[in-house]
Symmetry: D2
DNA sequence: TTTT
DNA sequence: TTTT
């Protein structure tokens, strides 16, 4: 279907230290549980109430997995941009079950640390080995005023990690 | 938890005519199934591939329910802004089951029709009984240049419907 | 035009203590400058580089203005959801000038504090004079499992403030 | 600054056929004007009112520029995801002027066609010449259920074009 | 299971 | 300058 968008944006806290698994061919997958909550004052009683929602976030991106592994701990506040995916599986009785997760996999996926935790590292978001162009020199000569750097990517302590920068930033 | 965000943005097509239920006290609830999909070309085979994701959308807002009831049909392309909620229920064996849905309930929820369908109506996004006033005069005298109308709300055929005019809150 | 969306999402730091003006009829307007920045490693030199972008945010909502007034100080980290607006004005030479701002005015506007600053207050997002009720009883009897509270709104120290409880709309 | 987000999401119509320029080193830059609008009913007069906002969108991404060049015409309805940038320039009197634009440049930038226009093409979003991996084979052996394709990218007629796929889809 |  |  042409013209489709599937985007989830979360800001919340990590409920437990992340779990990192590996696929058979060695690719990492990180699992996070993130809590978002809303508070309001009850109309009748006037009491303050709160409802917490728990989200399962699955990070398939190698670079973001490294970030998660190094910096994300229980309690960390994160900004997450990913997409909704529902996975089908069978329970022990052989019945179909479905789990809906927020997946950080492709482009347009982002994970940003919003508190001071995890700072000090120089890590960035991964990359598939090969470097590639971007930003810097490639825009030189640009007479339009185009910024000579990429956007949406960043690195460094406590930073902003996009799936993106992947291959353009050699480590 | 302070400082939390839970937002889902979808653009996709409705898989079937919506289903409208009513609560015991007469409030409508609309259920929609929305498909988003991505296509890409396989790296190895070069074939075009597509993956469709189905989302369950639940509309608790009375105004948006009216919009859904009147205008949204199978095949309609919608822009949806809501939030993720996971609901726990028991299956027939008494086992806990969980369903994750995109809920349009509070403020910051939006449903916009992106194709021509549903046009011609004068319906709007609900409203507390009637009024459906807005902006206009209330800003007169504003010396700042503030637009004299609200934003984020609208009405009219094939239009943009926000939860805003929240009709489920009796004053 | 039916089916239109105009949304800006920012997470950044406030550059200076906010400025609150008032319209002739006493409505508050808050102005904020918010910095977002990206860092990346230069492809060629390998140096770490950073680019900061400054955004002008204008808050027309009375409730959010109160929040800004009470809690938002220079350096605060905010989540902002608003819309783009370009305002035309004349400079001293009588020439047309344009300023583009992120406006928090209608529904779907949000301002959330992401750091601890501003905590301890009981303030909420405004509200039509007082009340600041919500959800609660109005959903009782709901046989669907609909949460009995609103979403997207909240209050409390350091909290999450939506335009919702729109106090500038006299009923 | 760590932990920063700068995101603009627009759905609107293109006001005129796009303009494509080229930098000195041959990179394309597309300029679009996109209209978003809101309609509402005036509280006092009951009249239907509308306000249109015009946005300048600048596409630095080569792949997205191709898409724009081939498919985007006056009147097209687009979904745009980019970021805010304010550019400083001097007018003829040598005075500083500022223009704020929605820039599609880095990752996390998207342009999707929401109407039927432009269909039939097989084009996708560009790429910097070199191909690269993605999806497909690289996930084979994945025992986790990870989808074996990327997300956020797509191509094809009337389709969804992300900055992303750039280098993985050889043309 | 987080956070306030 | 779009669109409804």
């Amino acid at each position: 279907m042409a013209g489709s968008v599937n985007k989830v944006i979360l800001i919340g806290n990590v409920g437990a230290d992340p779990e990192i698994r590996r696929t058979q061919d060695g690719r990492p997958i990180a699992n996070l549980r993130i809590a978002t909550s809303e508070t309001w004052r009850d109309r009748n009683s006037g009491e303050r109430r709160e409802k917490t929602e728990w989200h399962t976030v699955v990070v398939f991106n190698e670079g973001l997995c490294k970030v998660v592994e190094q910096y994300v701990k229980k309690g960390a506040k994160l900004y997450i941009e990913g997409q909704l995916q529902t996975r089908k599986w069978q329970d022990q009785q052989g019945q179909d079950r479905y789990s809906t997760e927020v997946v950080l996999q492709g482009f347009n996926s982002t994970l940003t640390m919003l508190d001071g935790r995890g700072e000090g590292g120089a890590s960035s978001s991964g990359g598939r080995g090969s470097s590639s162009d971007f930003g810097g020199g490639s825009n030189s000569g640009d007479d339009y005023g185009a910024p000579s750097q990429p956007s949406g990517r960043s690195s460094g302590g406590g930073g902003n990690f996009s799936r993106d920068l992947d291959d353009d930033i050699p480590f």
